[in-house]
């Protein structure tokens, strides 16, 4: 069931009525039933694998031990690998259970927290099942933590019109980002990336830039929609984005993009890896080779590489994702290991970080680094990605012909100019709103009805209706 469909609208209305009609102590049951119904609607059989994961994790986590934790990891990763990566072993007809990557991370995070005794294991199977299957976060995240989600899921929630209004506003915002901005960029990006050999450098740069905006509008739009849905139920989901393209360095970028995934990696992979025996041993050897280096820096190097390779593989086992992961591992490593050096240098040359030109320079530099990586993330193959890099560096020209050629992928020549102007206005508008928010967190909190009215009108008149799949669903 797509979140952008009439079926889902009916589903939501029935859920809200049922949720607020039943007694407060049964609200969680309504949520569980509707969450399972939502999941089964997509593919009834896939609920079996979800059930196996939920029951096994719940049972094994109740008595935390090393063996139980390892068993939980084996079962969940086993299911994930079979479904996500079987295609690379020649098995093509397996239907990948919806949201498997996301709920696997939630179960593993829960099991790890129980094992580390950070949380008390949940004694009620159905309570635990609700935590994993809660439908707004099941398919694409955010990857919620048990500590933050469970108290909210089980708490009674009284009908509050403010929640409905705020949730509704957030949903409209998400729909606007998805249908109007991302939807309009899709055609251009798909056209260019499906055949990069046919386009010149300027067109390829435009497509890469559009892809970055599309990915952000699509993914953050999805998050706005699910956060809005959850808000209507009185439950706050974790935020996944904080205007990432305004980051001033790459470390900050990854603290502001897909926040819950990166926090998960930090909590459940990076920190355990840093304190692991193997890493301490390697670090000692490295310290002997680089005696001047800081111990903390050396101990972080290998876990950082590990995290980024796993992040790459998590997105898919294709070479493009692996290379994308390695690219960011290298960039992060350079950024991480040179931070101290640059701090000293800045002090020596009296570099003022709050100077507007320096802020612009740092933000643009980070954005370009991200764009460079996005080429691999979007290209179909590594040879396509390399071709794009090559063409960008060798065939980019700024001329009337190149600009006209850059309009071609907008589609039929008759609509290209109009589409490009509308897109320029939309992207410019998004940029201004985000920039304003960056400088003032409370900006755009007034006149929400006017904003909602404008966005609804734009969705109806400029939205691309009929393409309701979200980009991150494939992961």
């Amino acid at each position: 069931m797509s979140l952008i469909s009439l079926t889902f609208l009916i589903f939501m209305i029935v859920l809200l009525i049922a949720y607020y009609k039943v007694s407060a102590d049964r609200q969680w049951i309504v949520l569980l039933v509707f969450s399972l119904a939502f999941y089964m609607w997509v593919h009834p059989l896939c609920v079996i694998f979800l059930a196996v994961s939920v029951i096994a994790t719940w049972y094994l986590a109740r008595t935390p031990s090393r063996i139980n934790f390892l068993l939980t990891v084996a079962i969940n990763l086993g299911i994930l690998i079979v479904f996500r990566y079987s295609i690379y072993f020649g098995v093509h007809d397996l239907i990948v259970p919806l949201g498997i990557s996301f709920y696997t991370f939630m179960t593993l995070g829960y099991a790890h927290d129980c094992y580390q005794k950070k949380i008390e294991p949940e004694q009620d199977l159905l309570h635990y099942a609700l935590f994993i299957t809660y439908f707004p976060q099941l398919t694409e995240g955010p990857i919620g933590t048990y500590q933050k989600m469970q108290p909210q899921l089980l708490a009674p929630h009284r009908f509050d019109l403010t929640n409905i209004k705020e949730g509704g506003y957030r949903i409209i915002k998400g729909l606007f980002k998805k249908l109007v901005i991302a939807g309009r960029l899709t055609y251009y990006v798909d056209t260019v990336f499906s055949s990069p050999k046919d386009y010149g450098g300027l067109t390829l740069i435009t497509a890469v830039f559009f892809y970055a905006v599309e990915l952000y509008a699509d993914f953050s739009g999805y998050m706005d929609i699910v956060c809005g849905i959850s808000k209507m139920l009185g439950i706050e989901l974790a935020e996944n984005f904080r205007r990432p393209y305004f980051s001033r360095n790459i470390q900050e970028y990854w603290r502001r993009w897909h926040i819950t995934l990166n926090e998960w990696f930090k909590e459940h992979l990076m920190l355990p890896a840093v304190t692991s025996k193997w890493n301490i041993k390697i670090s000692k050897v490295m310290y002997k080779i680089f005696p001047k280096a800081k111990k903390g820096t050396i101990r972080t190097i290998f876990p950082l590489i590990l995290v980024w390779i796993v992040t790459g593989i998590w997105h898919g086992a294709e070479a493009v994702y692996m290379c994308w992961g390695i690219y960011f591992a290298i960039v992060m490593l350079i950024s991480f290991t040179t931070t101290g050096y640059f701090k000293k240098l800045k002090l020596r040359i009296k570099w003022n970080d709050s100077n507007i030109f320096i802020i612009i320079f740092q933000t643009l530099r980070t954005f370009v680094i991200v764009l460079f990586g996005e080429v691999m993330f979007r290209a179909h193959t590594m040879s396509d990605a390399l071709l794009i890099y090559k063409k960008i560096f060798t065939t980019t020209r700024i001329s009337a012909d190149a600009l006209t050629a850059a309009l071609v992928p907008f589609g039929n020549g008759n609509q290209a100019a109009a589409s490009s102007i509308i897109l320029a206005v939309l992207i410019g508008g998004l940029f201004i709103v985000e920039l304003r928010k960056e400088t003032d967190e409370h900006a755009f909190t007034k006149h929400r009805y006017v904003q909602a009215c404008i966005m609804l009108t734009a969705i109806a008149l400029l939205g691309i209706i009929g393409r309701s799949n979200f980009m991150y669903q494939q992961f």
Binding site: K165, Q415, A417, A418, Y449, L456, L461, I465
Partner: protein, 301 residues
Amino acid sequence: MKKTVTTLLIALLIVSSVVVCKNLFSYRIPIGNRGIQGAVKSGDIDRLFIGSSTFRSNLDIDILDKTYDGKDYIIAYGGNQLMAFPIQYDEIAGRSDNKYDLMIFELDPLMLTEPVKLSDSRVVFDLSWNGKKALWDNLAGSEDTDFSVFYEYFVTSGLDDIFTYPLTEPFYSTRYKKGAKTGDTPSSGRDFLENEKFDISEAVIDPIQERAVRQLIEKCRANGQDICFLESPHYHRLSDDPVYKLYLQYFKDMLDEYGVRYILATDVPFDASEPEYFEDMGHMSGAGRRTYTEELVKVLR
């Protein structure tokens, strides 16, 4: 709650107003040099060509102008379909007092096998409400038509052009002259043309397209409008394909049944195996367009 309802109602009111105005009046937006509006505005036209982007690319307007004293015009839409021809004819006949000596419609055998769809929203933009309704009736008959097609057709199609009209119309004006392309497109080269993939082996006649040809002929005949069909040359790899030939014969038989004139690509001395003349299988380069039109006008005379 009151504010929420008001917000929704205002948004609905704005959207409805824009949609209604667009559907009723889009065809009245002044367009100088292309489409039905352009043709109607031009007034005294003797020869009117109606077809797809192939006509736009393959007919040289300067050569036609020289031959017909400027009394010619090309109405072409990207992917224009046979099912739209009778509707476009009705629009022109209904909105113009001009008497056309000859209307020349595109004869592309593969158009008969095209599934009914909307490929260029300008087609809708240029039609009056009655034309829009008639075209929708055809689209609604297709299995591929779903809510998103309906929505695009009646709500979003053409809106980008309307919203950006003051900025984009001057730009478009430079690209067309009396409906024809003004820019010169280079050839894509032998390698490209010899390797470009196409598969027409599964092509089957779409009854809506066939019915439209018959309707068009009957309408023109009833109105005493002289018409002719013109097959534009395709790169030889496509026009030599047995399936292409099969449907060309089918089209010819249908026209013969009504005694309607047609000019085949082979009736015009033109080398369809010369890669320099083509951009792709159906669209010509500037050189191809000029060479072909020079020969065509001799035949059309």
